[in-house]
Each structure stands twice: as C-alpha cells, then as structure tokens.
C-alpha cells in the first residue's frame, strides 16, 4: 500500500467523524470552523446518510425527505431550525424552505387537519372530540413545560403520560400516529421526551420543503464543509475501531490505512458503531438494534395531483381498529402509513414541480425482505406496491388507486433492504435504536455518538445533535 497516494491525507487528526450523515456533517463543520483538523469518512459515494437522493432515468428521487420538520417562519426565534442556521452560519434563504399547505391525520370516519399554524389542529380536535378540551390543555401544558434542552431526560412512557391527559383512545392514537411515523424508534410506545420533541417539530413548528428537495440542503452543507476546511473522504469507511485502555487507539480504514485521532464522533448509529470496536464482544449480534423499518413507493404522475382533487401535503392514515406501530408479521403493514405529495407545498414565486409526485410509506419487516431470493424480491415489491397504494387511496378523495395508476409515468420503490444497503443501518432501522444515547458517550472515553441514536429527530434534529456533541466534547473545555 502506497500510503502517500491513498486517502486520507494525514495520519493524525484532532477529530475523525465516521459517516457523512446530516449530524456528522454538522459536527464536522462546527469543529473545523473553530480550527480543528477534521477528517470526515463516508463509506457510501454520496453524503446525507438517511437523507439523500438518487437518480434513475434522469429523475432525482429524495430518499428520506417527505418534509423538513421544525419549520418556523422568519422572525420566530429560539427553535431548533434557528439554532442550526446560526451555529452553521447558514443564511435562511439558502435553504429555500417553502411551507406546507395543509396536512391531515385520517382514521376511519375521522379527519384531523393540521398546518403550520397550530390553532388549526387545536380547533379540529375540539370539533371532533369536544369532551377532550381540558385534557388537551393539560397535555399541551406538559409538552410546553418539558425541558428539551436537558441532555439526559428520564425515560418515561409517553403512553402513560398522554393517557393521563386524554381519555379518548381514538384521539390518543391519532396524535401518536404522525409522531411515530416521523421519528419513533420504539415499538408500541415512545419516550415522553421523544414525544415532546416530535410534537413540537410537527405541530407547534411545522413542515417545509426546498423546491429541489433534499439536495438543496446537501449542497449548502457540502459547501460549508469545504469552506470550513474539513477533509472529506468518500467511499472510505472504518473497518475497525482499535480500542486500548478504554480509548480509541486507532482507526483501521477500508483501504487498509490506519489513522489516529484525539477524538472520534460517529453518526453511523450506536450499535453499528459499537460493532466496529475491537473490544466489543457482541459484534456479530449487537443489541439495541431498531426493529422498525419502512417501504416507500414513489409514483411520478403526468399531471399535478391537485388537478384530480389531491390537495393534502401529507396524510397520516390508519385503517386498523387500533393503530399499531411495530414490526409487522408480513412484509408490509398496509393498514397504516403516510402519503406525501411534494407538489403541495406553497412554493414561493408561484413555482410548481414539473411532474406530479405521490409517495406512500408503510411499516415493513426487514428480516422478511432480507430473506427473499432475487426473483421473489422483485415479485413481492410489485405486489406490495399495489397493495399499499390501494390501502392508502381509501383515505384520498379519489375512487381508487387506479386513478393514480392511470396518471403514472414511472414508479420506484425502496424496502428495508435498500435502506440497509445504502446507509449501513442494521435492520434498515431508519430511526435507529429504541434506547437512545442522550449524553452521546460510549465505553471508550474519546468515542462519541451523534445523530438519530443520540435522540434528536428529523433533519433539523440530526444537525442539532451533531452541533450539540461537537460543542460539548469537541469545543467546550478545550
């Protein structure tokens, strides 16, 4: 091996970041901006991790982004979006954020609309569930009073606390449904702290989307990496974290290079990172791996969805008697899911996406998808593509999925297996581990975790996580 020619440039760095996910990139920018020598390693050939895009047939498809949550209009202060813009020195206009029109939680016989103005959801709840008015106020007070800046909040059950406030189980499930689909890593229940973070980011704050999707954000972040002097190495992962005396002694890379660093921050996931450590015995069978993953189908249409009556931005639907959030027994659970129509954001200057897009998302079983042979995999994809579309369309103001299929020019679909392949997340667990590592520390003194497994959620949350860990362990007390 000719060391002089292979990446990275140096043998030692102040900080090495494992993974160019949103959180890893945010951490790298912070540290390099303040003079640290930072190397960012990414095994894949694209940045973004769970929030990336791919191209097929000249079209670019977003992977993770239905909506950027945590959106607040200009002038609102102190929220996560404002924090990340400041901390990364990003001008708000660069992100081209366009707010949603209107979204909906749709259960059999009941619809709750919501927008970026929380009073809409509140009035919808009072209309459908008038006897829950007092309970709702109690719940909202508990949410507002929760200190989400604390790094290590107690793990209390959201079901317990929400159940103490609201007595109507249908309303309870209708509020859980979007929060779970947009960020819950745990089956059936979630930590109340996570409930609060998600509730604020979806309902108090709201949804927005850059006109060109996730790649707008990735471009801004990539430029910041460059400006701040981060050395970025693509298609180069960490093979082994060599542990000695409770510290990271060295990192062995996929290309055979061995490098050292004062500190290592990983956004590859907590169990995924531990399984890289030389002193961890459960490498082959790591614990705390998330069980939740998803399939997503994408329909590219020749007309704008609004032309045939589809006005919603996002619809969270559930057709089951009781909403269930858990790894399904079958390949996909089509009874509940998310419908996303990226055309239905309020794009500034009257812009309109050229083609219609509808995405359907539902819970899926990683093991089942992963064990299929190639032929069955293809067959099952097309079967579930249709099953999911049919189930979701019951909650849209059209006669059937046929209406959409007649307009469809191209389709695509990804499964938990696809997620695992491109992100390295074990079991395709989009929202990471059920037990979060809020302090971001590990058994190795100079190895830290940032990103989804540190307990912040969504794109903005991930970036805030990277910033928080960089500030706490990379900059402060230095």
């Amino acid at each position: 091996m000719n060391q002089a020619k292979s990446k990275p440039k140096k043998d030692h760095y102040d900080v090495v970041i494992i993974g160019a996910g949103m959180s890893g990139m945010a951490a790298a920018i912070r540290l390099a901006h303040f003079g640290k020598d930072v190397c960012l390693l990414e095994r894949h050939n694209a940045v973004g991790g769970l929030n990336s895009f791919y191209s097929i047939g000249g079209r670019k498809y977003d992977v993770g982004l239905h909506a950027l949550t945590n959106y607040v209009p200009p002038g609102v202060k102190g929220t996560p979006l404002v924090k990340i813009l400041r901390q990364l020195r990003i001008a708000r206009d660069e992100l081209d954020l366009n707010p949603q029109r209107c979204s909906r939680i749709a259960f059999p016989g009941v619809d709750l609309k919501f927008s970026n103005d929380f009073t809409l959801l509140e009035s919808e709840i009072l209309r459908e569930f008038p006897d829950q008015a007092d309970g709702l106020q109690t719940l909202l007070r508990k949410i507002r009073e929760w200190d989400d800046n604390q790094l290590d909040y107690p793990d209390v059950s959201a079901r317990e606390i929400v159940g103490e406030c609201l007595s109507n189980p249908d309303l309870v499930e209708m509020l859980f449904c979007p929060l779970m689909f947009y960020g819950n890593a745990r089956e059936h229940d979630m930590e109340f702290g996570q409930y609060v973070i998600l509730f604020k980011s979806l309902f108090f704050e709201g949804f927005a989307r850059p006109f060109d999707g996730i790649r707008v954000m990735l471009r801004v972040v990539r430029n910041k990496l460059k400006e701040s002097g981060v050395e970025r190495c693509m298609k180069l992962g960490v093979k082994l974290i060599q542990a000695e005396q409770g510290r990271v002694a060295a990192l062995e890379l996929d290309n055979g290079r061995v490098i050292t660093a004062d500190k290592v921050i990983s956004c590859a996931g907590w169990p995924e990172t531990l399984s890289l450590c030389s002193d961890v015995e459960t490498k082959e069978n790591p614990s705390n791996v998330g069980r939740l993953s998803f399939v997503e189908t994408i329909n590219i249409l020749q007309r704008q969805p609004r032309e045939f009556g589809l006005e919603d931005t996002i619809v969270f639907f559930n057709d089951a008697e009781r909403f269930e959030f858990a790894r399904p027994d079958e390949l996909v659970d089509v009874r509940s899911g998310v419908i996303c129509i990226p055309n239905n954001y309020d794009y500034s200057e009257g812009r309109q996406l050229e083609e219609g897009i509808i995405r359907f998302t539902a819970q899926a079983n990683f093991e089942k998808w992963n064990s299929l042979n190639e032929e069955d995999y293809v067959d099952q994809k097309s079967w579930w593509f249709k099953a999911l579309g049919e189930s979701a369309c019951k909650f849209l103001p059209i006669d059937s999925f046929d209406v959409i299929q007649q307009q469809t020019m191209v389709t695509d679909m990804f499964t938990p297996k696809t997620v695992k392949k491109f992100t390295g997340r074990l079991a395709g667990a989009v929202y990471g581990s059920p037990i979060k590592n809020k302090p971001g520390k590990t058994h190795l003194e100079n190895l830290y975790i940032c990103g989804t497994d540190q307990g912040f959620l969504g794109i903005v949350g991930a970036m805030l996580s990277g910033i928080t860990i960089a500030n706490l362990y990379g900059l402060r007390g230095d």
Binding site: H33, K77, G78, R86, R89, A91, R476
Partner: protein, 87 residues
C-alpha cells in the same frame, strides 16, 4: 484598543453569529441575553470567535463576564492590552 473598539468587536461577532438580530440599539449596560435572543450556544460562539479572530482566550468559568457590552469591555480590555503588549 479602546472600550468602544472592544464593544464593536463583540457586536460584530454577534452580527455574524445571529444575523437575524437587530443590533442597532443594544444598550451597553443591559445583559445581552435580556435584549437579544441569544442562548448558551450563541455565547459559546462569541467565546470561540474571540479566540479564532483575535487570539483571546476566555475560560469557561469566566463566561458570565461577557453578560453585557460593558462587562465585555471590562473583562476583555486587559486581555487585548496584554495581547498588544506581547506583539
């Protein structure tokens, strides 16, 4: 380096960190936190930018000395003077 110079250095840093804040009317004797929307992350950045742009070190135990523009001037004046003396 006069007290005014130091205050405008701090204000320039805040303008960089928080371009969405209106800095035209900041009272020097009132806590910055009370008149601007700055949190602990922003104060960390003031400290880090002082180091990066001017080579001034502010240990964490002294962060509260940066509460207002006046206290910034009091605290930073000898530090800037020492820096100039050493050049």
């Amino acid at each position: 380096m006069t007290r005014d110079d130091i205050q405008s250095i701090v204000l320039n840093i805040i303008a960089e960190i928080a371009p969405d804040e209106d800095l035209s009317d900041v009272a020097p004797n009132v806590r910055l936190r009370d008149q601007l929307d700055l949190d602990s992350m922003d104060f960390l950045d003031i400290v880090m930018e002082l180091r990066k742009q001017h080579g001034i070190e502010v240990p964490e135990s002294d962060y509260q000395e940066l509460a207002s523009l006046d206290s910034c001037a009091n605290y930073l004046e000898p530090k800037f003077a020492a820096l100039q003396g050493s050049n």
